[in-house]
Symmetry: C2
Subunit: 124 residues, 2 copies
């Protein structure tokens, strides 16, 4: 079985993390792992943002997050458990990931408010 590769903390780059998080699905997966605190397995993300995601696409997203150094994945039987590396990264880049996760929360609640507002109104 192919080993899971995780970059060393000192090899993680800001551009690499920003690239991994610049995809709307990936950033949602990451925010969810970072917020949950506990490890999450891949299949718990089969629906992200109300859309069903093929398992192969999901694996690819997890690989990008892992390669960027944002998450740590471990095989547990047939499942893959993922935890965020926030705490570790925070020692090198203090406040970076909390700021990104918090900005995403703001954006999600704004979007939810817009959706609710639109649903409530009949189009004229």
């Amino acid at each position: 079985m192919k080993p899971l590769v995780h970059p060393a903390l000192e090899d993680i780059t800001v551009e690499g993390m920003l690239h991994a998080l610049s995809d709307p699905i990936r950033v949602e997966i990451f925010a969810s792992i970072a917020n949950s605190g506990c490890s999450a397995n891949c299949s718990s993300f089969l629906t992200v943002g109300e859309k069903a995601i093929p398992k192969s696409t999901l694996s690819q997203h997890f690989k990008v997050l892992r390669d960027a150094g944002l998450i740590r994945s471990e095989r547990l039987g047939v499942e893959m458990q993922n935890t965020s590396r926030c705490a570790e990264i925070d020692t090198r880049f203090p406040g970076l990931l909390p700021a990104i996760v918090s900005a995403l929360k703001t954006q999600s609640s704004e979007r939810a408010a817009t959706r609710t507002g639109k649903k409530g109104k009949a189009r004229g």
Copy 2:
């Protein structure tokens, strides 16, 4: 002359900003504008990170930063003046851009230290 388009503050997305900043050259240009405080014209970036950049590539980088909502560009005669929209964005996503700029500073100083270290040592 084509007008310069800037997205409204409420249309700026976190993913869009992270995408624009996931390119090493662009992130360096942005950090430099954000740190300088005063406006910078495009040609002052013809060498970024010790490499000469063709003017057309540079224009494209500025366009990506502008479209993501990160900078504001103004034509002044034949020159283009660029200022960061950090203050504005900070009202919607507090701390996000300062955290990114600060992480980049950390990364640059680490890289500079590594380069100095390598230059000091003869290879064995």
